[in-house]
Symmetry: C2
Subunit: 325 residues, 2 copies
């Protein structure tokens, strides 16, 4: 049985990451505060190294490998943001990285991974079993860096929760809720551990794309359920099949709930982030902002943190979404 | 004869602005550092209240008015960013604001000014004399808040220089140069006073749009010269006719030089800011980044700060520039 990562693991991760990752600032918009009738604190992990939060978990995972394990290199599968986090972390340690990426991953993400010196192995996300793609490398002794269902990954992402609580305190506010994008649940579970440790009354919400609301339905059922196949979404970073074992075990204890948002709502949130925050946010990175309009989170007079988890989006896609206003 | 604003005026402005404006963070990109062969520290005033630095000078100016003067309201002319800074400052003091804005100002900027409760008086920038437009309000006793050529405005913008020097020190680096967008010269002159006070060897560069390089040509001639009429540029925030009296007097003492960049270079810099910094920057706000590719500033092995002065751009314009990659 896996031991769940706790607050001490997150503190240890924060010590390892200190000075290597960006302590992303808090950004506010008077217009959005007015619209939602509360105080919304945005945590833009878009400004993080590699353009998403993923380097936090990846670097922490690589730190926990022995020097001997690490020297054999690392392997991962990812649609893009985790890939960039692993590639950057491997480059920081000077070890080899092999990343299996779906052929339909955004070109920007694939290009960035290659630029950081990692080898990209393309696979078809509808036909190929990604474990089959990475197995030969694991058999050669390379360590798998899982995208979310791993204590060191979860603890790394949880460092965002530590920063948030410290930053809220410095602003003299108490957070009523923290709203977090959710694919496999690594980000939401990690953040929930840090937030609940410091402030048990603060709600933590996970937000998923419509048709990929496996965490929402799993929470409702009390056990892990998978998404129906055959759907698509612009939120490429959040298209996981089902919650992780560890992430779900944490999330079912800590989350206030999960919310599903449409692609249309995610696109509108991207335009709001552009106009009011001047931040480039990718579709999956913007779902927590989109969820504020769902009516499911009580906002009036409250102070709510919203994690903008990534900003890696192609020019063409972004231009199309901006022009759709 | 006007007394030039000095470092004590900037410190006084910083004290007035403290807690009311955002201390904008420093953002870095490993990719851009690599491209330019130096360390580039970006100061994104795009994340400032109202989406540009202009609130710093406007609020400082309103602070220096007597309560009686302020109570009669304020009037300004501006293509948009100064207008928003004045409108927000007037709202913070609870006084009336009237803003003369060109009919071709970006719709986003006009809309934002109205949302903040200011009255907008449209004028034709090619036909109307803007002083004629605002004179009736001045005659009613309302105070004019000039866009740049005013000691209190310059001192307010100079607070960016104080922050930059403090932030560079905290990072343990010494700045070799600071590169700043330039319209009338309020931002560059204010920043230059703060930078030169703390670090006389640090170069300060002003950057202007092609055909609007009045500061560059004025520096070359040793006296203020105007731009030739009949040109246009996408950099709507920087289309001033000539340098200010006070701003030029400071700039000719403090600047290392001024650089003119094309609209094409400004657009490319906007795409670079989107892809590598995840920041939405308006055309005029991005000219200092564009100037890094001009070859006029020595970058190899140097540490250079680049001010991104604003991010107020319409969806349509922005989408078009992003799609042009």
């Amino acid at each position: 049985m896996t031991v769940l990562p706790g607050i001490s693991d997150i503190h240890a991760a924060a010590a390892r990451l200190s000075g290597l990752v960006v302590e992303t600032p808090i950004i506010e918009s008077p217009e959005l505060n007015k619209r939602y009738g509360g105080r919304i604190l945005f945590k833009p992990e878009t400004l993080q190294r590699t353009g998403s939060f993923k380097i936090r978990g990846a670097y922490n995972k690589l730190s926990t490998l022995s020097e001997e394990e690490r020297s054999r290199g690392v392997v991962a599968f990812s649609s893009g943001n985790h890939a960039q986090g692993v590639a950057a972390s491997a480059a920081m340690f000077g070890v080899r990285a092999v990343i299996a990426m779906p052929v339909d991953a955004p070109a920007l993400k694939v290009g960035n991974v290659r630029k950081m010196g990692a080898e990209v192995v393309p696979f078809d996300r509808f036909k190929d079993d990604r474990m089959t793609v990475v197995r030969p490398y694991i058999e050669k002794g390379m360590a798998l860096v899982p995208p979310f269902d791993d204590p060191a990954i979860i603890a790394g992402q949880g460092t965002i929760g530590l920063e948030l609580m410290r930053q809220a305190k410095a602003l003299g506010v108490s957070l009523d809720a923290v709203v977090v994008p959710c694919g496999g649940g690594g980000l939401s579970s990690g953040i929930s551990v840090a937030v609940k440790d410091a402030s048990p009354h603060t709600q933590v919400w996970a937000v998923e794309p419509e048709h990929f609301d496996d965490t929402r339905r799993s929470l409702a059922k009390g056990e892990r359920v998978s998404n129906e196949p055959g759907h698509s979404s612009i939120c490429d970073a959040l298209l996981t099949a089902e919650p992780g074992l560890i992430t779900f075990e944490i999330n079912r204890r800590n989350l206030a709930g999960a919310i599903a948002v449409s692609d249309k709502a995610a696109a509108q949130a991207m335009r709001d982030a552009m106009a009011h925050l001047k931040l480039v946010v990718e579709p999956g990175g913007c779902v927590a902002l989109a969820a504020l309009s769902s009516g499911e989170i009580y906002l009036a007079g409250k102070c709510v943190a919203v994690v903008l988890s990534g900003g890696n989006v192609d020019f063409g896609t972004y231009a199309e979404i901006m022009a759709a206003d």
